[in-house]
Amino acid sequence: MSTLAALARLRAVRTGTAQRLATVRHCHLSDRPMVLIPLRMAGEAAAPLAVMAGTDPARPRLLVVPQPRDRDLRFGFAAELAGVLLPYIEGMQKATETVERRGAEPYERSVDAPQIIVPNAGSAAFVRMLGRSTRFRRAEGPYAVHPSVPTLGRWLTYLGQRAQHPGSSLLLAATEALSLHWATGQSRLEDANLASLVGWIDPPAGMSGAQAAREAEDPLVWPPAGPATDPGFDNEVLAPAIRAYEETRSERAAARVREAVRSQLDPVWRLVWRAVGLLEALPAAPGVASRWEADRGSFSAFAAQLAEGAPPQPKRDGAVGAASRLARMERARSSYDAQRAYDDALVMAEYRLTGEAFAGTVVAAEPDRAEGEGRGRKLRPLVTVRTGDPVRVAPGTRLGTPQRRGQQAEVVSVAGGEVTLKIVKGMGRGASATPGAVPEVGEPVCYAALLEEFQPPPALPAPEDTPWTHGGPPPENPPEAESSEEEWS
């Protein structure tokens, strides 16, 4: 944790309310997000108990498995969930735009994409687990399920995996999204409780954030946001209701389980929408649009794969697939970090504390300075910045600046609170600099050793050419084949 974030937490303790860690919103928020709250039966890896989902805060859909240990009820539930989720996802594929690419065929990209908002990281992991337990099922043969079940499994798997992609907003965990923007006066562990986190950020009238957060820890006031349920609720309310259903299998008994579960989910439903409202109130950062565009591209590509009948995602990536996924995530991470810093002075502040960035005022500028002679003459304006920040960049380091995105400068010297820079990119190609491209004396500026440059993907062999050092080519018949019949008990 950075000193800045630590200081923000200290101030939250003193003031009793959460402190801002960002001045703008760094995640995309859809006009029509779908909130999804899954609950799991305690002690089971992937036995769904219930899901509350929907795009309208006033009209949640509640799906309940009255006996989570019953295999048929479970698959019936999966089909019902598909009935809620798939129309939402497929609706997003209808309107598309053609994207032209240099040196490649143009492709179709959806103009919007689904956005699923779950309460916390555990719920996101459970979404992935539900995807794993349903994507290999088949609509024919032994243990046949409704055809929508394997499709649901592939989408849940896709969304669960995409959530690990830095900067992606297709599947958001509310606690993570809020923690990116606010610091509370409690520990990160306690921040994983959504009710407590929202209490710090937006306490009810007449209460401090600290008080609201404490109250939120009482499961009788605020039921847990899932996927685990409150053990007290399990033992006193849910277990008798499920037993009654087991004995009678009646509509009435099923309704009793349903109402019991609803009592736990209703407050969480309102809470997640409150979290959405808190995020909505922040203005979107400039970089959000381009990251959402990447999300839309990824979504369209996966939808196309699915339409072409691609097999379900493997249980584990092959060597080549894993290497390319890792490289993609690393590149996404560095560009996400850089974009957030350039978009937000508070994020940049963390880099200023570590000396990777500095802010100050221009004290000298030579906008028309050039190096070289004749045809080799290159425009290289010099700028000197005075700063009170602890600068830790070596001469020769390339820097970018939020004031002039795309421009790059090289450190010439650092001495006595003054940094001399040579602008090497993004100041125009003429004999003199483009007007406004070189900061003038007196202008406040900020430079950072973070570059948003495009990094080409690494060259990797085709999967069938995987070298023996990495296990050789993958087998023709992956072990996934038998998974359609695997138990789900």
């Binding site: 950075s2 200290l10 002690g43 337990s133 990160r188 562990l189 053990p231 504390l353 695997e486």
Partner: protein, 369 residues
Amino acid sequence: MDRLDTLRGPVPPRPHDARAIAALAANPGCERRAVLDAAGVDKDATAAHLGFPAPFGQSAFAITRGNAFEALVKENGCAELLRLLRDLLGLPVESAGYTDLGDMAGDPPAHRRHEHTRRLIDRSAAEADDDGTLYDHPLLRLEIAGHTAYLEPDVVAFRLGGAFHVVEVKSFAVVDGQAEPEKVAAAARQAAVYVLALRTMLEELGHDPLRVSHEIVLVCPENFANRPVATLVDVRRELAVLRRQLARMTRVGRIVDALPPGLTFDLAPGPDGAPARPVAELRDAVRRVDARYAPECLSTCDLCFFCRDEAAGRGSTELLGRQVRDALGGVATVDEALGLADGSIAPGEGQEEIARLLRLAGRVYAEAG
């Protein structure tokens, strides 16, 4: 020893189970926990009486599931378990026996059952054949701060050739070769307690303690079914932590010696069945022993809410977690850290660097926010 009995009061000591012993390793710096555990004080009841009941509960569903899975693994004389172990350890199919160490007439006390386990394990260790044998319901013993703790693992010790393996049955799922890391870690810590107890027993019997493997066999349900799968888990790291912690516990005497004489956490029930001790008195007694609160306590220690409240009262930076404390270079209180940040407190010896950083953070935060 009398001292620890005084601390506990006239109630029987709470037995240590492997989970409690393993949890000691979670926060080795906490003197309060070390003393209360060494004295065998019921921390759950203490917390409840103090008005800060522990936030833990176990769902009946999880208990049922755990029991059902264990029964499945152990049914028909551990037939299923033997099958798994044959595959995992490469045991010849025909040679595998099963001995139930809990099979004794009457309801013998723990030390007699332990003697029984000890005798059979001794005989088994002396034999040099290659037959595999499963020992179910062993009763092991471990010295905790001078007290004898009997451990009744739901595990079995498995001997193959000269080596013993500890088997731990858990009901969390392994999906595609992966399980939740925290759960595996907790199982490994717990199994390490059994490995240590078994090693101690072999050593006392004059056998080589290293015949107990540091690789334990973890048996869990595979994927979404009830079918068990066995995996070897290396617990050397957990063993090292546990040994260090137990060694510290034997020095708990020094902490206890420094406490005021007559100090007690007595919870003896009054006529109404509730502890007779006035709450304020108990609170003062508990506060006499220093705690080292960390947010991680919230998932491992019964007293967590009490200690958190106490830390909040002091304005301690411990409340915010180790990451924040590290970022603050160990500055103890919120007031001190904020004072260093706004310059109202002059940095003490060795605090110059963190004070400079905090002041800079304060300035940059104000400029950017």
